[in-house]
Symmetry: D3
Subunit: 283 residues, 6 copies
Amino acid sequence: MFYHMKELQYEAKPSRPDPFFAKQLQEILGGQFGEISVALQYLFQGWNSRANAKYRDLLMDVGAEELAHIEMLATMIARLLDDAPVGDKEVAAQDPVVGAILGGMNPQHAIVSGLGAMPADSVGNRWTADYIIASGNLLADFRANLNAESQGRLQAVRLYESTTDPGVKDMLSFLIARDTMHQNMWLAAIAEIEAQENIVVPSTFPRKLEKQQVSYDFYNLSQGEESSTGRWAQGRSMDGLGEFKYVSRAPAYGNSPVLNPAPEYVHDTLPSIRGPHIEMNKH
Amino acid sequence: MFYHMKELQYEAKPSRPDPFFAKQLQEILGGQFGEISVALQYLFQGWNSRANAKYRDLLMDVGAEELAHIEMLATMIARLLDDAPVGDKEVAAQDPVVGAILGGMNPQHAIVSGLGAMPADSVGNRWTADYIIASGNLLADFRANLNAESQGRLQAVRLYESTTDPGVKDMLSFLIARDTMHQNMWLAAIAEIEAQENIVVPSTFPRKLEKQQVSYDFYNLSQGEESSTGRWAQGRSMDGLGEFKYVSRAPAYGNSPVLNPAPEYVHDTLPSIRGPHIEMNKH
Amino acid sequence: MFYHMKELQYEAKPSRPDPFFAKQLQEILGGQFGEISVALQYLFQGWNSRANAKYRDLLMDVGAEELAHIEMLATMIARLLDDAPVGDKEVAAQDPVVGAILGGMNPQHAIVSGLGAMPADSVGNRWTADYIIASGNLLADFRANLNAESQGRLQAVRLYESTTDPGVKDMLSFLIARDTMHQNMWLAAIAEIEAQENIVVPSTFPRKLEKQQVSYDFYNLSQGEESSTGRWAQGRSMDGLGEFKYVSRAPAYGNSPVLNPAPEYVHDTLPSIRGPHIEMNKH
Amino acid sequence: MFYHMKELQYEAKPSRPDPFFAKQLQEILGGQFGEISVALQYLFQGWNSRANAKYRDLLMDVGAEELAHIEMLATMIARLLDDAPVGDKEVAAQDPVVGAILGGMNPQHAIVSGLGAMPADSVGNRWTADYIIASGNLLADFRANLNAESQGRLQAVRLYESTTDPGVKDMLSFLIARDTMHQNMWLAAIAEIEAQENIVVPSTFPRKLEKQQVSYDFYNLSQGEESSTGRWAQGRSMDGLGEFKYVSRAPAYGNSPVLNPAPEYVHDTLPSIRGPHIEMNKH
Amino acid sequence: MFYHMKELQYEAKPSRPDPFFAKQLQEILGGQFGEISVALQYLFQGWNSRANAKYRDLLMDVGAEELAHIEMLATMIARLLDDAPVGDKEVAAQDPVVGAILGGMNPQHAIVSGLGAMPADSVGNRWTADYIIASGNLLADFRANLNAESQGRLQAVRLYESTTDPGVKDMLSFLIARDTMHQNMWLAAIAEIEAQENIVVPSTFPRKLEKQQVSYDFYNLSQGEESSTGRWAQGRSMDGLGEFKYVSRAPAYGNSPVLNPAPEYVHDTLPSIRGPHIEMNKH
Amino acid sequence: MFYHMKELQYEAKPSRPDPFFAKQLQEILGGQFGEISVALQYLFQGWNSRANAKYRDLLMDVGAEELAHIEMLATMIARLLDDAPVGDKEVAAQDPVVGAILGGMNPQHAIVSGLGAMPADSVGNRWTADYIIASGNLLADFRANLNAESQGRLQAVRLYESTTDPGVKDMLSFLIARDTMHQNMWLAAIAEIEAQENIVVPSTFPRKLEKQQVSYDFYNLSQGEESSTGRWAQGRSMDGLGEFKYVSRAPAYGNSPVLNPAPEYVHDTLPSIRGPHIEMNKH
């Protein structure tokens, strides 16, 4: 169950309305790495967690915090939209600044949400659960979380660079600091788990069942051999179980495939156009 | 530019057709972490790369390999669909096995693609670029890549556990081994970069601009204190710049927000229903 | 079957082209509550209707009218796009008004549709059947319809406030009037049905099968008790079958859940990381 | 800010695993009218609310409760998935019951989420913010909410009819009861507002600006006059401001539209194919 | 404006209910090439048509007919769903045929639409306007229409092969015949236009502005030269303005690209990781 | 397998950065008919091809070329974004040109991709596999390909008309020329196949199974008889198997449908509201 407190986790007041920036700020509310994404990602990982209580509790703590961040951003965006102009070409033509704002703001902020925040990104794509990840494997998912916080802090920093509004910068400085913590936190959780199992996810699949002769080959499949100078092309593998090997000409282990003709009920292509029937799927 | 060779990177022949499993296998072709996702993710990262040639070359090498994996899976799926049954309730009623196959296969494999693979996942959602990530920041993106290979190997392993077909298992054992390499590879690339800059992405944002007093606090926002026992709640932070601190009662730094009434042209709500106008956005 | 007449239901002529406003007007053509949504919503409700002929006829009448509204908006948008400017930064730099129009118009109106209307909203999201509702239950669906006409009239009014073009305003005044009728109409249809059955949808589910002790409780789950002053927190319930009750501290009827560990073939998480196996799903 | 309590609002334990029903139950978790939809709909309405504190508090109370319902359903689905079978055609062929389960379950429950709930509906469409509504107008939005609770209760009842599991039925009986309350609640809130303003949304748009001569006409646009017998075709209008009028032959107020030819840079169609240029947009 | 007649264009009665086939039949109602797609595609082309009256009238005629096809399919699907079973694993286990139907039917047909047709395809993806095409260029769009009718007839034929129900086959035989006409019709319309202008769309772009030296080259970019034997690799080009030329080794006309480093405010990657700044964009 | 060469197929250098045009250019990279669409469309058709080697090789050749076009556009867009401005209302207000650029550029180019190209169209919709077509029937699919190249060249031409940048125009002149070739190529491939089979897709379905009496009727379903003057309304049908016939009043072959009432477990509508039960589905 959840309980809602009225206070914001941190203040969310712009120094002046700016519907133009409101549109941009939507990115970290309802975009691929916005707060809706991390909130629901952590909560679903927590609800689905079949692991020990420590990790489940961690996920619920951070999931609950991200709900508070959605709230801060929604509040900030609504305030940036205060008294947003509305208008057409005539209105835009009267004042270049109003014209630029009208051109640059999200029209749905006026028409659809009535000067409110929307569950959408900075170009108006509605948030979708395509963005979130919850696999049941903690190491895999914590890596997803580390990525989400890395992308999220990067976007918050880019927005910080784009605004001159002290109130907005103040709120972003808080969110950026929290992303610093959350990157550190997932790095710590990953380190804890990696200390107990092999770093290749999932660690429980017997290595002998994979085609081990290709488990540490780096295949050169593009012109130039600059990639041969990386750490991934030489030395002990990161999981400690093999040696990286740079393969300058990547081999083809398979044959050129020929598919069987389709059965007649599929009405693919005339026999006169198809090639001859080839006996296949013999092993 | 790209050049296509006819041979498959690895053999893709099932021991017998199985339209039921063909549907499941679509997940790692056209799902969130399928081969289309990693191929386009690495290629876009490469094309957008403003970094040194080593990393760009790495991305093009692996992007090209993932295109070969799309091809292997498309071929395998087409072969699993050979002579798939078609039918309605009457047909299904005649034979429980045929019925189960008809019930469990993807009807679009018959109606839409004519027994071919589709750019879709195991429930038929078409692939979308919502799945991919390319931010221009190498460390952030390599973490995204490590996650993608972790989720991808996990899904391939789960499919391996779900099939009894030696031909399918053989191909999956190759893909799983390549995912082993690719996890190792991104771990190596990450280690290289982390050796040169702070591990918090982006490392170039001046820390003094963030609200540093909250950069290492862990906020307890859920019942129970199990999360206090994790590494993230105590000791030196992973970035070496602070000390983790467990905050048992997370504070509210902000006030309870009250929004201004909407201007009249928005036609929100009657004044009699709204509360009083409140002077706000004063800093 | 449908028959198309050439005349528009109402005139759709702007006083001057305005590609900037054309973009905004797309909202009520192809947005969540645009005319495509209501047309297909009413038609699908009609086609699926297993009810008496009066309601089916009503749905077909209004569905057919909404097709005429799509047509009016498509015509208006095409005319607003007449001679829309095309250009890049250089062109935009030459004239601030042209620049604002270029910045604010939908580029797909030039590149994709060739100055025609699109089945999309004001930010370019393509129309999707996610927007429509047809459940087979008339009372539920008429409530959906009342909502659609309420949101639709609200958006049309906001667009009316945004334009200075007399021709556009004239057409909007017609659509707004029709939405007045359609809200009245669904209110009347709802009243007819509510007079015959309980107002809780679906009325045919035996109340004794629901957990009746919580059927009229209002749960306070957020700070502050302002919500206790509403009609929903006291007095006879609207369906006449109970008494509203304000519960200041919402109870938890359930336990803290613990999930079983995943079976091995799922490769979730190492046993050393999971907690102990717990006997569960005992009732 | 939000705080999470460990206890479920109500028990969520099936009497036995049933991956087949788990797929169906996803509908009211991640479908169009699932708990994610109502939770985020109420919360966004609350965050964007520029109205008095009573309604804002109401929205936060109910939004918080819906988060608890997401949690209950996620828990129930994870338990229904305990020890779900995995397999291909061979496995399915061995046992008709296993075959039917394999055919009928969502393969992503095994491959993607590792036996966890997903933010998706019963056919696997991921949840999207296309489903939710927050316009800033309380009366419009409360009608949206009444619809959501009507559709939601209907779906929960249909699922109740589909299961034989006492544990699942028990949880559904709780959710159905809460939907009873929530329909009553929105009906009460609507009644409160309708008592203060005209029932046509938005009530603040001056009626004289709409084309009032068509504000109460019912247009017959389909064969048959069954629709003429409804309340919407005669008598005082529901808003008390007009008289319903049944128009047996709906008039066309507009002309047959002819669009201007496209400018040359659009490369539409050869002049030889187009008709003559017609002077238009003259008012 | 549109007017609706009650009679179906053709009978839509199955010989027996079959919820399993109802799911499959959704493909040609709400799939990529279903009737919703062609109806809205033709209507939007018509509404946006700036061409002569003959083509506009053609588009409205066929658009209106496709609306009638939506209606036929919706009716057929509703009837196939009559008395569809509902149930869980227990119900499925009691009877293999019921189990197969439950496994193979679309659960939303029971839970969401109440045994009605849905605007969705055979796997449940909701219809989206991503499917439709209206560019303003008649030749381009008529090619799109020819494709749509080709894919549509192919899918209808595949469904015909999949059913044993005489009533369903009868309706499909009508739709297939209409698709025969519609392919012929678009072929005729295309022939009319191609007789008046060059067959390369758009014909009005001056050829001298394109890089004419590559306008008829076929580039071999894959292993094997089988493609050299096609008509496209030799002889007069189809537009009569050039000679096809087979180029066995496709040239690279461009250089290897190097992008400028990102400006600092983008926080891409450390200078130590980037390569040197390169003077570029010099022509 | 694929191999990547570093050189671009053609130069992709703008004469000056232009983030405004970068947004527009996204259309032919990631839009419905952008290069991602044709690349994946041809490759999937090739991988699924059960036809003779000539057509498979053709598809792989052109699919590989389209990958090179993605690369060219991604490079061009990244360069157009060099040093793109970032900012809010204040920044926009200082300079009308900067304001117009800020208003007209895609904010995700700054916030999300860090001045890189995105797999999205000109309004920011992410690319989706909804756009592509691969049915297994070569004639159907080659018609889809001809359409794709027609729409694609049309869009490239419109972009050519919109820019004043010589570098961009140069690259577009190359892409337009290649589209000239590709339209010619698909026309040639279509001609080859049509020479061997009937032009109605699929040619293998026995005509006697379709309702042949309506196979060549043109139904007038809209006001006005302008459509009667087209080639499609008279003379020999294009497939040579019938005579076109213009039917001025399209007949209704079916009855007015009445659906059975829903079973009780669906909870549709009260019996008092439904009409009487009607015996149906009798043939």
